[in-house]
């Protein structure tokens, strides 16, 4: 059981950056890019800030580059938590 799940990510996304108009966050969104979901780079930066606060894990600004999809963000966070 990973410490940080896609559902946690969904909560963070909707909570701090709003919900997209064209797709339901409850759908299978893991591999869809943030850009396609309607989240720009500012939105992803905001999500990263909320993850840092919730989990106490540090996410450097350039790591946001790696977090191109919700699943990629989840994987990144779990790697950091495990390290």
């Amino acid at each position: 059981m990973p410490a940080f799940t896609l559902d946690d990510m969904r909560t963070i996304m909707g909570g701090c950056a709003g919900v997209p108009e064209s797709i339901d966050l409850g759908d299978d969104i893991g591999e869809i890019s943030f850009a396609e979901l309607g989240y720009d780079s500012l939105a992803v930066l905001e999500m990263a800030a909320r993850i840092q606060q919730r989990l106490g894990v540090r996410i450097p600004d350039d790591a946001v580059e790696e977090m191109r999809t919700p699943q990629a963000a989840v994987d990144y966070v779990n790697r950091r938590l495990a390290a």
Binding site: C16, A17, G18, P20, L42, A43, L45, E46, A49, Q53
Partner: protein, 420 residues
């Protein structure tokens, strides 16, 4: 150019027309609700409810109480914008629909956005400052970087509809709401075919209210019916409000080609600035010259003006200066004067566009909406103030006045659309 050349010389087609109106006002959300309330003299002033204002010297305001930010603005857009932008985005959307325009079908570089703002996103900013002080810098949201900014409403409208023509914001407090329309006219004479313009303001949070109180011009009276009485012997300052109006401006020929039905045309505009006030001499107002410039620009004689929508600050010294400017141009009791903003409070950058919307509706329906609360205009002002109830009569030319804190004056003349 000589002094006389602009008179009657400008071809009518160079007068841009207004084809869409969107209103978010304290006494009515949506144009129809606002206009019905305004003709009925129904006020939207009341005790402040957006926060606990009990211990502030100003406790009455005009709030847009029916407005639900999350219902009216898409979620992704709502999180990155202030309440003031929410009102502006909503009014802009209504104005586009009213004009029957589909932005996706128009050339993107021929659509311009120019809005007025005077406070920017103070409520959003206050929320982020609270996080900064209580939790730390890491808790300040990224959207603070764009939400507070005066141009945010313009920018978000531009992004939302793919309007990539000239965009901008004018900050000249209440007067900026007229100056944007003059800027819109300039753009229509160049490359734009449609301009989304107008303005809103919404600064009824503690930080925003305190900034307003610092001018010393706000009413501290608790009775909403006696708090804002411009031109009355009992005038005691003004009541602040939130909201405003967005307007769609188009070139007259373009509007005609697509079969749009304009509310009216922008016939003239004038803007002036007051000299710096100094000790030992009375304040000087250059509002009269703004009026004269607007009339000259329009090629309209004072006797042809059917109504003046006053700036109506409600501060005795300033009411006197405005009354003198009006009487000097139109003669004593020479023109009907009204201030429907007595039902909304002063909306700053949103106030003048709302007055323009109101004037266009007055032209359409041939009726002058009332000034409420005022029992009698002070006789020395020599004003024919339309009080208590609306006054019937054709409105062919309407003059809207606006002064902005710090010395801005603007006057805008609207005229009925060509019969066709």
């Amino acid at each position: 150019m000589t002094d006389t050349s602009p008179r009657r010389a400008r071809r009518r087609d160079t007068r841009p027309v207004f084809t869409g109106i969107g209103v978010a006002a304290p006494n009515g959300l949506g144009t129809a609700a606002y206009w019905a309330a305004t003709l009925d003299g129904k006020s939207g002033l009341g005790r402040i409810t957006r926060f606990d204002a009990e211990h502030y010297p100003v406790r009455v305001a005009g709030e847009v109480s029916e407005f639900d930010d999350t219902e009216h603005v898409p979620s992704r857009l709502a999180v990155q914008t202030d309440h003031w932008s929410h009102l502006g985005l909503t009014a802009a959307d209504w104005a586009l629909r009213d004009a029957g325009l589909d932005p996706s079908a128009l050339p993107e570089y021929e659509m311009a956005v120019v809005t007025a703002s005077s406070s920017g996103g103070t409520e959003f900013g206050q929320r982020e400052i609270e996080k900064l002080w209580s939790q730390g810098p890491g808790y300040v949201g990224v959207y603070q970087s764009i939400a507070w900014f005066y141009a945010a409403t313009t920018g978000q409208i531009s992004i939302r509809y793919g309007m990539r023509g000239p965009c901008g914001v004018i900050c000249a407090e209440q007067a900026g709401g007229l100056d944007v329309l003059a800027q819109g006219r300039r753009l229509l004479r160049q490359q734009a075919r449609v301009v989304v313009t107008g303005g809103t303001d919404a600064s009824l949070c503690p930080y925003g209210l305190v900034a307003q109180i610092s001018t010393g011009l706000l009413s501290t009276r608790d009775d909403p019916e006696r708090a804002y009485l411009p031109f009355d012997a009992d005038a005691c300052g003004y009541v602040p409000g939130e909201g405003g109006a967005m307007l769609i401006m188009e070139d007259a020929a373009t509007a005609r080609e697509r079969g749009a039905r304009p509310y009216g045309a922008l016939a003239g505009h004038g803007a002036t600035f007051d000299p710096r006030p100094g000790p030992g001499h009375p304040p000087v107002s250059n509002l009269r010259r703004a009026i004269t410039l607007a009339l000259q620009d329009a090629g309209v004689e004072p006797g042809e003006v059917d109504v003046v929508f006053a700036d109506a600050l409600g501060v005795p010294e300033r009411d006197r200066l405005e009354a003198q400017a009006i009487s000097a141009v139109f003669g004593p009791h020479g023109v009907p004067v009204t201030a429907p903003k007595t039902m909304t409070g002063r909306l700053y950058a949103g106030g003048a566009p709302l007055d323009v919307a109101t004037a266009l509706l007055a032209v359409r329906d041939g009726v002058i909406p009332p000034t409420v609360g005022v029992r009698a205009a002070a006789p020395s002002y020599e004003l024919d103030l339309v009080r208590s109830t609306a006054r019937d009569g054709p409105v062919r030319n309407a003059l809207v006045l606006a002064t902005g804190h710090g010395g801005f004056n603007a006057a805008l003349l609207l005229t009925a659309p060509d019969p066709s």
